[in-house]
């Protein structure tokens, strides 16, 4: 193990993980504290990923673009110790507006040696609805405060003007400002560790070692990709059809040439007037994740891997939206993109790949004002089932591919909002049959304990479900049912905003994973 580059990678990974733990332990927002909806990474001064936390690939993939946009606006040579940069602009590398990236330069021996970056899902950043994920948005201007890459602080503190801006925009200003401070603290912790690391061999040697680490990851990725057949391999997936809205399909053609992966998404649908579009960070997250699944356990996971990616995206499409597209509900489009990509990868490297997972997750938010006049807001993410195979049944109700969010416990939910979780179960029989069954989805039943609770429910796979592999069978689709206290019953669709009154119940059922191989 005289492998100093491997050790350097592990140590940087450890620092990224320290950042992540700081967010999870100190964040006020339940979706971060309970759901782990945040991600951290370290970057080189050139903006290449040095280390990733064990977080949510969907968000990890958004950090390179955000850091790039900040470096474009504030070149590395102009950065000073203590500078703080932020952005949440989907069209400058971000995801959707609640995800604010905080980027801080790390100096050692008066040299810029790294950048720390974190992305955290903030509770509310304005918009037409609490939680900043309005399901009826058609333009980004409906979705909240948009922060282009900007310097938000100096000397290790946010500028008072920036804080005032955030406070003015948010329905829960203390929560958002508190969580921004937590992101800052996570960056400081990483900086301390990086400075210690750089101090051991000197800044110059540290930078050279980081470059060598990136080069090694690139070389290993080139070697791995060179083993794969050239292709092309096609993959395609599509969101549920919605009346009045054009199709939302992701189509990819994957080729492997000279140790590079060319992922061409031309042929995907044009962007639509609904918040389901995603921006470049979506296909980047999906393809980065796809590349990392190809590497073995001991591989160095850094920006060297990304050097082997050639991402080709159609402009103004659902996979690469242009302003002023609405994007707040982009997650299921990213899942669609990932499903298409994994299909293509299964053609290229089938032995390791299971059948398609559910390709969806719900994002559910309950908000309102309690009897004491205090605002409440809780967001949670509910997963579907994993695909079956290639050697066992799929796991039920588990975050898959670019997701890795955790569920929220009944005890946490009920202490935050006036809702009761009546049951949290595996939705038995919802996984696709097969030689190896797809994992089942989840079923959760909620009851409102007061009047006037706003519920925002975003899901997918109500009608168009994942297809089985090698003769396996498709799973059951998703379903959301509202059971009114007066006996009324409503079936909801992919993106719904409803009001719940005392005694009303909501039944959330997520789709299962697809089956693998013909059923017995």
């Amino acid at each position: 193990m005289s492998d100093t580059l491997k050790i350097l990678q592990l140590r940087l990974d450890g620092l990224a993980e320290t950042m992540q733990q700081t967010l999870l332990r100190c964040a006020v927002s339940p979706v971060v504290r309970e759901g782990a909806d945040a991600s951290c990474a370290l970057f080189s001064p050139r903006g290449e990923v040095l280390a990733l936390a064990e977080a949510i690939p969907l968000l990890l993939g958004a950090l390179p673009g955000s850091v790039r946009a900040i470096l474009d606006a504030y070149p590395a040579e102009t950065m000073q110790p203590g500078d703080i940069f932020v952005t949440n602009d989907p069209f400058s590398g971000g995801t959707h507006l609640p995800d604010i990236a905080v980027v801080q330069p790390v100096f050692a021996e008066a040299r810029l040696v790294a950048l720390s970056a974190s992305l955290l899902h903030h509770q509310d950043i304005g918009s037409t609805r609490a939680g900043s994920v309005p399901p009826d948005a058609t333009e980004i201007f409906h979705e909240g405060l948009r922060l282009p890459p900007l310097q938000a602080g100096r000397a290790g503190r946010f500028d008072p003007a920036f804080e005032r801006l955030i406070r003015a925009a948010s329905r829960v200003p203390d929560v958002v400002v508190g969580d921004l401070e937590t992101q800052l603290a996570a960056g400081f912790r990483a900086a301390e560790g990086v400075r210690r690391l750089a101090g051991e061999a000197g800044a110059e040697s540290f930078l050279a070692a980081c470059d060598a680490m990136l080069d090694r990851a690139e070389a290993a990725t080139v070697a791995r990709l060179s083993e794969l057949p050239a292709g092309p391999f096609a993959g395609e997936d599509e969101l549920d059809p919605v009346a009045g809205l054009g199709p939302c399909a992701a189509r990819v053609s994957l080729r492997f040439e000279a140790g590079r992966m060319i992922a061409d998404f031309h042929g995907s649908s044009p962007q639509v007037a609904a918040p389901v579009n995603c921006v470049r960070s979506g296909p980047l997250s999906a393809t980065f994740y796809g590349l990392l699944t190809l590497l073995d356990d001991g591989a160095l996971r850094n920006g060297g891997v990304l050097r082997c990616l050639d991402l080709r995206l159609p402009e103004a499409s659902v996979v690469n939206a242009a302003p002023p597209a609405a994007v707040n509900a982009r997650m299921n489009m990213v899942r669609c993109i990932t499903s298409a990509l994994l299909q293509a990868l299964a053609h290229a490297d089938g032995a390791r790949m299971p059948a398609a997972n559910s390709g969806m997750s719900y994002v559910i938010a309950f908000s309102g004002t309690d009897d004491a006049g205090q605002r409440f807001l809780s967001t949670e993410i509910v997963a579907g089932g994993a695909g079956g195979g290639p050697r066992a049944d799929g796991c039920s109700a588990i975050s898959t591919d670019v997701g890795n969010a955790m569920n929220i416990s009944a005890e946490a939910l009920e202490s935050l909002v006036p809702m009761r979780l009546l049951s949290a179960e595996i939705r038995r029989g919802s996984g696709g049959p097969g030689q190896f069954r797809g994992g089942d989805g989840a079923k959760r039943v909620y009851e409102a304990l007061t009047d006037g609770i706003a519920a925002s429910i975003r899901g997918e796979r109500f009608s168009r479900v994942a297809q089985g592999a090698h003769g396996g069978v498709a799973p059951k689709g998703s379903a959301v049912t509202v059971l009114r206290v007066d006996g009324g019953r409503e079936e909801l669709t992919a993106r719904s905003a409803i009001t719940l009154n005392r005694g009303d119940r909501v039944v959330i059922e997520s789709s299962g994973g697809a089956g693998y191989g013909p059923p017995a």
Binding site: M1, A36, E181, I398, S415
Partner: protein
């Protein structure tokens, strides 16, 4: 009482015994075939102890941990709130390996078979107030089923029981009346904290241990003569000694005590003027290799960890357990060797060590197994390859463990022990580019030695479950005085406050030797803790979950007799008080009071 003590570490293949009084310390190893009574009697006989003269008998066992690593089944049932039967299977929805295309959950569903999970009606709200009475109908139905199934242990976890245990207590009383002899694990007793999944795991694991190893102490008592009037003390996961009654309250005591005792031995070996700030401890036994970190002479503790693949919410030494040990079968996995072989003729690491002359191989059985493993390749070369792989596996595990904790593995000290560890300690050190490695005296019985050196802890806990703003100095003083009345005697009082910025947030622990002066002082301490650990002000006004008072006392050990200057024999083996150390060419060995020190003298 005549001041004689005995520490026993029941390992997978051997039970290690260390006995001492004011004058001398003696050691023996006895083969362990799983019968605690028999092996205890054998050890007492070999040491010439009747048991009647013992002041204390200190015990740890690796049996539950090894069973957990093997995911062994147990006759366990679970009672849970209606609608939440799947909590143990759903876990937290996250997965074990982020970039494995096949998603696998870390949830330990194996602890309770699905058919033995019974939902019971009845509900508390988020303040602990009863919304719906516990369903006697459901309870009776579950008890009938449990009677038919013949379970050995039942876990109970109802929502919000950490705030109001009434429903769990009611269910437990009904179970005790209907099923006497069945062990019961109530979640509010074992892990009185929010988040039902974590609490369910804690209760289910407790019941699983009760079913797998519930009679361990009874077997132990059966080995002791009637005249035994001493105390039975258990080494727990914090590396301290607690009375045997603690097992009835929290059976995880038996799960993590053995590796924690070894960490305690590592801590004792790594003290000294030249000791590095951080020392990595590695104990390689027959089935598992356990890693811990020593800082400032004490094992580092955590409140939550994934140990043996199970998420444990308990204060314990920060340990990682790796499936690597002398008796673990070797398997060719593609181009790699791994230590998870299950083939009956698979060689093990000890076979490779025997071929290389580091262990005896009187009937050449080890040589035959190694020869059969890689036909066509030289036996010694195959053995060297296996040992090299073991050293690399251990080194990588140490580096991963250290880097995850922001410890620089190249600057940390290294302390290796166990029956197998010292036979490849220098090679592990070399893989890490370390030029020195410490090995405690009597390394093959390190767990028992750690047990002998562990402090005896007296402690009590009081729950507050109050926002600091609502607590008030008078209430605080009442809690502190109640604890002081309960925990008397020798040892410096240590206060452990479990707090969070807000009630729903993940808690942290404040440990201080200063009696909390006031609620305001606690608030200041909380702010300092957040600043130190995370670099932020507490994101909330503060919430106190509980206060614990503890006092530790340590029994002095006599000095271990000197063995003279350690010198390798022809096979480069150095014989120690218990076990041998392999000293490769280019390495030197010295010995001081607590440890051997191997240093690299040539590249």
């Amino acid at each position: 009482m005549n001041g004689t003590h005995l520490a026993v570490d029941f390992g997978a293949r051997f039970a290690d015994f260390v006995t001492w009084d004011a004058r001398e310390l003696r050691i023996c190893k006895v083969p362990n075939r799983g019968d605690v009574t028999q092996v205890t009697r054998a050890g007492l006989a070999e040491l010439g102890l009747t048991g009647a003269e013992l002041d204390s008998l200190r015990v740890v066992t690796t049996a539950p941990l090894n069973a957990l690593l093997d995911r062994a089944p147990a006759d366990v049932a679970l009672l849970t709130t209606r609608g939440f039967a799947d909590t143990l299977r759903l876990g937290r929805q996250n997965r074990v390996a982020l970039y494995d295309p096949v998603a696998a959950s870390p949830a330990p569903a194996f602890l309770v078979p699905e058919a033995r999970i019974h939902e019971i009606g009845g509900r508390l709200d988020a303040t602990g107030a009863e919304m719906e009475a516990l369903s006697q109908v459901d309870l009776d139905r579950a008890i009938d089923a449990l009677r038919r199934e013949g379970v050995q242990a039942v876990a109970i976890c109802f929502l919000f029981s950490h705030l109001n245990p009434a429903h769990e207590v009611q269910a437990a009383e009904a179970l005790r009346a209907a099923l006497p002899g069945v062990a019961i694990s109530m979640s509010h007793v074992i892990d009185p904290a929010p988040r039902e999944y974590d609490r369910t795991v804690s209760a289910a694991l407790d019941a699983w241990i009760a079913a797998r190893a519930g009679d361990t102490l009874a077997q132990l008592r059966a080995a002791l003569p009637e005249g035994f009037a001493g105390q039975i003390l258990l080494g727990d996961g914090r590396g301290v000694l607690v009375p045997e009654g603690a097992f009835d309250r929290q059976r995880a005591v038996l799960l993590t005590g053995a590796p924690a005792a070894a960490a305690r031995a590592g801590a004792r070996a790594s003290v000294g003027a030249e000791a590095p700030e951080d020392t990595l401890v590695l104990d390689i036994g027959s089935q598992s290799a356990d890693i811990a970190l020593i800082q400032g002479g004490e094992p580092v503790s955590v409140d939550f960890s994934r140990f043996a693949g199970v998420d444990l919410r308990a204060t314990m030494v920060d340990m990682a357990s790796v499936p690597l040990g002398g008796a673990r079968g070797v398997r060719q996995n593609g181009a790699e060797l791994t230590f998870d072989g299950s083939a009956p003729d698979a060689p093990c690491l000890d076979d490779a060590l025997a071929v290389l002359g580091r262990l005896p191989d009187p009937e050449s059985a080890a040589r035959e197994r190694i020869a059969g493993f890689a036909p066509g390749q030289g036996v010694k070369e195959t053995a060297r390859q296996i040992v090299r792989t073991a050293a690399q596996t251990a080194a990588l595990a140490l580096i991963r463990y250290a880097t995850r904790r922001n410890v620089d593995p190249s600057r940390a000290g290294l302390c290796i022990m166990g029956g197998t560890g010292p036979l490849l300690a220098a090679e592990i050190a070399a893989e890490m580019d370390a030029t020195a490695v410490m090995i405690p005296r009597a390394p093959a019985v390190a767990g028992a030695m750690g047990l002998a050196q562990a402090p005896r802890r007296w402690e009590a806990i009081r729950r507050a479950d109050s926002a600091l703003a609502d607590l008030g100095d008078a209430t605080l003083t009442g809690l502190l005085e109640a604890l002081e009345a309960e925990v008397t005697g020798e040892g410096t009082p240590v206060w452990t406050l479990t707090l969070a910025a807000r009630a729903p947030m993940h808690p942290l622990q404040l440990i201080t030797r200063t009696r909390p002066a006031s609620v305001a002082a606690i608030r200041e301490d909380l702010a300092r803790a957040y600043d130190t650990q995370f670099g932020v002000a507490p994101p909330g006004p503060g919430h106190l979950f509980s206060i614990r008072l503890s006092r530790d006392t340590v029994t002095a050990l006599p000095a271990m007799p000197g063995t003279g200057a350690p010198t390798p024999d022809a096979a480069r083996l150095v014989t120690t008080e218990a076990g041998a150390i392999y000293l490769p060419e280019g390495w030197d060995i010295t010995q001081d009071g607590a440890a051997y020190r191997l240093t690299r003298s040539a590249p």
